[in-house]
């Protein structure tokens, strides 16, 4: 059977993928994945972490944005082999109900989401921006947030990023992990 053939190939090369997702290590069944599989699909279809979204498959829309080593990265074009062993953070671990990320709190205050589909990617892109730049101006936001929102929540995202940045700068809230 062709499937067994592929499995044999994988095993011969000794390929097992170790993923570190949201602080947990997953050794992925080599029958479920192979090193070419984009991280997005391992998250969504293997680990059932469906908060990270599929939008375009070509790194154009940003719905699949996650953090790898703290950097925003489009997981739909990132093969598992490239992230093996590196810390990956997804929307599910951006904050918690008890301790939301400052951006999540700002998203509520500014009533940002509409359909909500792009918002995981938007939040992850924004969190990576704030980790590097505590006081982003409009041009910084334009340059960093290249994600697509078809509902057009951009004006509120811009304001929410600025207000979350202000909260983080004031130290009113502990900076979330990242």
């Amino acid at each position: 059977m062709p499937q067994n053939h592929a499995l044999r190939l994988l095993r011969r090369h000794g390929v097992l993928v170790n993923l570190s997702i949201n602080g947990k290590t997953h050794t992925l069944d080599d029958a479920a994945v192979d090193p070419d599989m984009p991280l997005l699909w391992a998250l969504r279809d293997v680990l059932n972490l469906t908060g990270t979204k599929f939008g375009c498959g070509v790194a154009a829309c940003g719905a699949c944005t996650v953090h790898v080593d703290g950097q925003a990265l489009r997981s739909c074009v990132t093969p598992l082999a490239a992230v093996a062993g590196k810390p990956v953070r997804t929307i599910e671990a951006l904050g918690s109900a008890e301790q939301p990320h400052a951006l999540q709190a700002a998203w509520v205050a500014h009533q940002v989401p509409q359909c909500g589909y792009c918002q995981s990617g938007m939040l992850m892109a924004a969190a990576a921006l704030l980790a590097k730049n505590p006081n982003p101006g409009d041009a910084d936001i334009d340059a960093a947030i290249t994600n697509i929102c078809r509902c057009g929540t951009y004006p509120r995202i811009r304001e929410a990023i600025k207000s979350a940045a202000a909260v983080l700068r004031s130290g009113a809230r502990p900076r979330a992990r990242g």
Binding site: G55, P113, C149
Partner: protein
Amino acid sequence: MKRRTLIVSGLGTAAALVVGWGVLPPRARLGRAETLPGVDGEVGLNGWIKIGADGTVRLAMHRSEMGQGVHTALAMLVAEELDVPLASVRLIPAGPDKLYGNVAMFVAGLPFHPADSEPGAETRLVQGGQWVVAKVARELGINATGGSSSVADAWEVLRLAAATARAQLVGAASLHWKLPAAELRIDAGVISHASGARGHFGEFAKAAAATPPGSVSVKDAKDWTLIGTAAPRTDIAAKIDGSAVFGIDVRRPGMCHAVVRHCPMLGGSPGAVNVDKALQLPGVERVVRLGPVAGSTAALAVVGRSTWHALRGARALQVDWQAPPGGGIDSAAVLQALEDQARAAASAQGGFAFHSRGDMEQVARGAARGIERVYRAPYLAHAALEPINCTAQVSGVGAARRVEVWVPTQVPGSARALAAQVAGVDEGAVTVHVTYLGGGFGRRLDVDVVGQAVRVALETDGRAVQLVWPREEDMTHDFYRPAGAAVLQASLDGHGQPIALAITSAGDAITPRWLERALPAIAGPVDMPDKTVSEGLFDLPYGVPNQRIAHVATHSGVPVGFWRSVGHSHNAFFSESFIDELAVEAQQDPIAFRLGLLRDAPRHAAVLRLAADRSGWGRPVAAGRARGVALHESFGSIVAQVVEVSLVDGRPRVHRVVCAADIGTVVNPGIVAQQMEGAIMFGLGAALFGRIDIVASAVRQSNFTDYPVAKMIDTPRIETHLVASTRPPGGVGEPGTPPIAPALANALFVLTGKRLRELPLVL
């Protein structure tokens, strides 16, 4: 026979044929408690509302949440009348009962001029037409979320359902305590009396179900505590932590994944297929042929262990794609043909006249001069961010066969009917679960993907299968916003004022094509005049005394569908750009010119004045910038927008949009502002970049890389200002889209002196 008489008598005949007059009881849309069976101690009070044992309220949610905030807005209506906090209204799926059909959307589809259908002052013809269509719509019970109609449709129904439930609960408490109902008060779901008697809804629900409500009326507007407030949306928490479940997030035990690959040529089909390479890949299970279903192009589906395995398999298929019979479609040729047809009809008074008044011929002879312009608009894709998808599971055999479908859809009833048809079962054997929609914009009024998913599920041995369209399949196999062309002509008097207006447009009708796909049971053998082709042209508020507004309905063969704001999306560009041209001809300020034509349209004039006032119209604008304005009514709401634009590297950059609107009674001003912003961004992206090109029946654009949409860098500052109103609520999701393209084009004219008459706006 006059045109309108024809339409109404046609509707009447259709109604009689479809349902028979005898089964049209004049009943309220309250529904019966049996429609909502209680579980775990819940008690149903009517077709909309159940009370839980703990006193919480459950609302049967019939409309789809696709970002427009409808789940919040409809729950607000109920919370208001029941005097409970918004958070204590829990939403439960409404199910397929006809009670949950949309009446307002179908009534709004009638091609009546707004001047004849002003609420409370409708002409008898309009009253008759609306009555018939409302009856038919109620009998058909088609549940559709679209046409910006959800709040308008639910406005009386849900408030009355909640007020009736409240009266029953209070009545039950009154009987129990032997205290006058008038002395009881409700606060946060607790009924109490000054004597100290207290009890929550759950304690009286059972008795309430047997208590007649008596005469019920809804709250007076002055007593509202929730309606009219910017209550936070109830769906935000799930949309910021990844927990909201969209269609593509549905997970079922043992499920498999499938990816579709259509014939690249619209209407074509797969000929010889070599599946060997695909099946040799690990994790690829099988390939299923998909015939055309509900308007789709024939395709192949590859089933695999994960979406990625299926994607890889789909890429590995070797297919000899067959072109559609009858020759290829070329969008450039279609657009040229539309222009030619519009020109021919304009010179021969041809096309179907949606509106005519006065005497065009006589006026034209007496006019000082005439002006004629041609405008064009391309096909557009919806490109909702959540790819088209559906999860389906078929279990059991023969009479025991059951179908379960999870789908982000705007039309669950159509999904159910199609699933039943494809699986060969009665509709009663099909359960449809409507998930959150990752954007709809009209695309999810079509259910082609449901037919495909159920077809694949027939082959997966009882396992659930999630069928996903890669972005390229969505971009190349959408139901596109139709291309359109229009000839706009005006006769001017000696002062440059228009005394006659003739608009002749051409383009495909959407509604008849959609009925064939989504509601085949009510699709007619011949196309009725479709209002959506001429909306935004025949229904203008301007007091030009002589008008003829006509449309030539065409059949391009391109699959066309409803795209946020539908006909208004391009017709507003045509009409509001042309009005701006007339202002230039009259050597008047664009707002002053419009106000001169709005003497009999005070609501429109008020909205325009508000936009002018808040935008600083008439005051100097920053160096290098120019302002433009547009005013447009759609879906029962009037919107004016003032745009400030400059050129950055030779391309338009919008800095600010001031949006003024009269949407009738405002249920939630926060959501209204959100929708105006979103509608503006949707229209702005289309105005700047949007075009779908078709060559030899194949769509050239394939992804966001070659079909750009608005992004953060394109985003202006947007301010929304609402006119206070006591009218019933109008639409909110769509009316913000139409004015942005003409407002921008009009601003670009001021800035550059160049009049752009084709979308997208390329300098």
